[in-house]
């Protein structure tokens, strides 16, 4: 296997609140290979966004990336750079943002500046990293708008975001993210705010662009159907931890963690009789403050037994490429230190 492009090691992002320490991301390991799409899936509040924002260093106080966390980026066989160690206002960090790693956000309405023209907002990224020439930056903006399939790209350059539909705005966001041909694209639920047909168009577009631009995608969603469409590998997140990771087929065919299994049961199938109810997962995701050391899913798990309430299971790779954090599959206990 080639060296991973992005390697997240023991990432812990904590919010230091008055009520206590909120462990939004608590010991995540992930590898993203060149050209690969990794899907991150989990319910609302499981820490997906905080993890993605940590990679871009967009977490603001009271949030902090804990010491010992590593976010290693290795481009073109160079020595890996630890993003977690870079000072917040450093040039090195700015050189990564937008040039090597780009991000698309969930809300295409509010993620674009309402008072700047679309063309300016895309060209700005190019002006920062790849050219000093305004004409050239504009040409790049025009090219990217064309690539993301916007009808009438010339005119869209001069448009303001509020003049565009939600789907078009998200295409603009993608165009902006692609301005400098990044190696990694982080997409945080980019289609959630869109209606279903537009959602599929955007997904297909992203898959095409990934191949054209030769980039890797970290795709965050709470929708398993979306993951099935775009990802090769899937990581299931629950309360700041990864509970299961495998290639997409294995996740769908042989899910092992009870949480993954119930996520799968909660998606609608074609042909399911309408009287048959969708199975929602009982309970809600708690706030990850002052969690006891034990399996985090135990309270909501139908197969939980005594061990689950006493010690925390470790993430164990049972079969190659398939890791599960559950005592049903391994008795290994997580070492806390």
């Amino acid at each position: 296997m080639p060296a991973p492009l992005l390697s997240i090691r023991n990432l812990r992002t904590y919010f230091h609140l008055d009520e206590g320490v909120l462990k939004a991301v608590d010991g995540v390991n992930l590898d993203l290979q060149p050209g690969q799409t990794l899907g991150i899936i989990g319910e609302s509040g499981s820490g997906k966004s905080v993890m993605a924002r940590s990679v871009m260093r967009l977490v603001m106080p009271p949030g902090r990336i804990a010491a010992g966390s590593q976010i290693l980026l290795s481009v073109d066989g160079k020595d890996p750079l630890d993003i977690a160690q870079l000072p917040f206002e450093s040039k090195a960090l700015r050189q990564i943002r937008g040039r090597l790693i780009s991000m698309i956000f969930q809300e295409p309405m509010t993620s674009l500046s309402p008072v700047h023209k679309v063309g300016f907002q895309i060209a700005e990224a190019a002006l920062l990293h790849v050219t000093k020439d305004r004409k050239e930056a504009r040409a790049i903006a025009l090219d990217r708008l064309t690539r993301v399939g916007i009808p009438n790209p010339e005119r869209t350059l001069e448009a303001y975001p509020h003049e565009l539909s939600g789907g078009l705005r998200q295409r603009v966001m993608i165009a902006m993210a692609l301005a400098c041909r990044p190696k990694v694209l982080i997409a945080d639920e980019p289609t959630t705010a869109l209606d279903v047909t537009v959602q599929w168009q955007i997904l297909r577009l992203m898959a095409e662009l990934r191949d054209d631009f030769g980039m890797s995608i970290l795709y965050i969603t709470h929708d398993l159907g979306v993951v099935a469409q775009i990802a090769e590998t899937v990581a299931v997140m629950y309360l700041g931890q990864i509970v299961e990771t495998a290639d997409v087929l294995t996740i769908f065919e042989h899910p092992q963690h009870p949480y993954t299994q119930s996520l799968l049961r909660s998606i609608p199938h074609v042909g399911r009789r309408s009287r048959e109810r969708l199975e929602a997962i009982a309970g809600t995701v708690p706030m990850p403050i002052n969690l006891p050391v034990r399996c985090r899913f135990a309270d909501r798990c139908q197969s939980a037994f005594s061990d689950c309430f006493e010690v925390a299971p470790a993430l164990v790779e049972g079969q190659p490429g398939h890791a599960v954090r559950c005592f049903l599959h391994s008795k290994e206990i997580e070492q806390h230190g």
Binding site: R53, M56, L58, E89, R94, Q95, I96, R97, G98, R99, S102, M103, F105, E107, T110, S111, L112, S113, P114, V115, H116, Q121, E124, A125, L128, H129, Y160, H162, M173, M176
Partner: protein, 328 residues
């Protein structure tokens, strides 16, 4: 845009007619009128005034006409640029106002400029350094500025200026320059007299503006588009001014037109205390003396400024914020 402006000018004309009616009625409303007050005053001083003289005066000032006639005479003269005659000053209203308008406008515009110059940097600082010592200090000063009445502040500053800076306080220039033609020395002397009135008149507006800017900017700083800009690799400082500050300042810049009338009314008391030759004290005196034409004309001019200011604001707002469309 052109249609919009023309239509708005039409509204302004209609509103001015309404304002003229209302102000004329209100000024006439208190019992008695200027003439009877004048006659009483003369009689108290021992003068003998017979009915004939009174009738003569009434005719002279048009007071023997029914109010409706008086109103129409006034308005039709106004349109022709004749503002009428001031009873109490025995001079044309136009002369009285023109004498005081430059100082009034000058102080107002200067105050607005100073207000922005102080409020915008402090507002940005407070929002970007929320809960810092500096933020608390400005918040504290702001509350004082909002809660201390301006006349009190005027008295305090006059005292301090007199005691420690040897300033002849009050007025716009030192006594020896009153009535003198303008020259460099008089101008410099005036510059020395400006800071106190400008500070006092601008204070509550400045603190208000700081509050507003701090609040909006705090909201804007956490909007998703700021993260988008940051994720592009922009420097924090560039990002701050290009996005959230730009958006938070828009409403302040575009509402500048609304400040002008606020300045006029805000400076009445201060002008009286500081003895400034502005329109404010003139209006106050005119209202007290029921000097109908003088008071009415000032009210009309202030209304005109207000309406034009609002129009300018609306146009500016449409220019700086592309989301606002002016319907044709």
């Amino acid at each position: 845009m052109g249609h919009f402006i023309i239509r708005r000018l039409g509204y302004i004309a209609i509103l001015l007619v309404l304002v003229s009616i209302v102000s004329f009625i209100i000024i006439q409303l208190p019992p008695g009128d200027w003439l009877s007050a004048y006659v009483t005053r003369l009689r108290v001083q021992g003068a003998t005034i017979n009915e004939e003289i009174i009738q003569g005066l009434k005719r002279q000032y048009g007071l023997d006409q029914p109010p409706v006639r008086q109103y129409f005479t006034w308005v039709s003269n106004l349109v022709q640029g004749d503002f009428g005659y001031s009873f109490s000053y025995s001079r044309p209203v136009k002369d009285l106002i023109i004498e005081r308008l430059p100082a009034t406008l000058g102080i107002s515009v200067l105050t607005i400029l100073v207000t922005y110059l102080i409020a915008i940097p402090i507002g940005i600082y407070s929002a970007t350094h929320q809960y810092s010592v500096g933020d608390y200090v400005f918040t504290f000063l702001g509350f004082i500025g909002l809660s201390v009445p301006s006349f009190l502040l005027a008295l305090i500053l006059m005292f301090l200026g007199y005691k420690y800076f040897d300033l002849s306080v009050g007025g716009l220039y030192s006594p020896q320059y009153i009535g003198e033609p303008w020259d460099w020395d008089k101008f410099v002397d005036m510059l020395w007299h400006l800071p106190i009135p400008v500070l006092i008149i601008g204070l509550s507006g400045t603190t208000g503006l700081i509050r507003v800017l701090r609040g909006t900017l705090l909201d804007e700083i956490h909007r998703p588009y700021v993260d988008t800009a940051r994720a592009k690799g922009l420097r924090e400082r560039v990002l701050l001014y290009r996005y959230p500050v730009r958006i938070a300042i828009n409403p302040l810049i575009s509402t500048v037109g609304w400040l002008l009338p606020a300045m006029f009314s805000g400076q009445v008391i201060v002008s009286i205390v500081l003895n400034l030759p502005t329109v404010g004290p003139l209006l106050y005196e005119a209202l007290r003396a029921q000097d109908t034409y003088l008071a009415g004309s000032i009210v009309m001019i202030l209304s005109l400024f207000t309406l034009i200011g609002t129009l300018i604001s609306d146009i500016l707002l449409a220019i700086v914020d592309p989301r606002i469309r002016i319907e044709e």
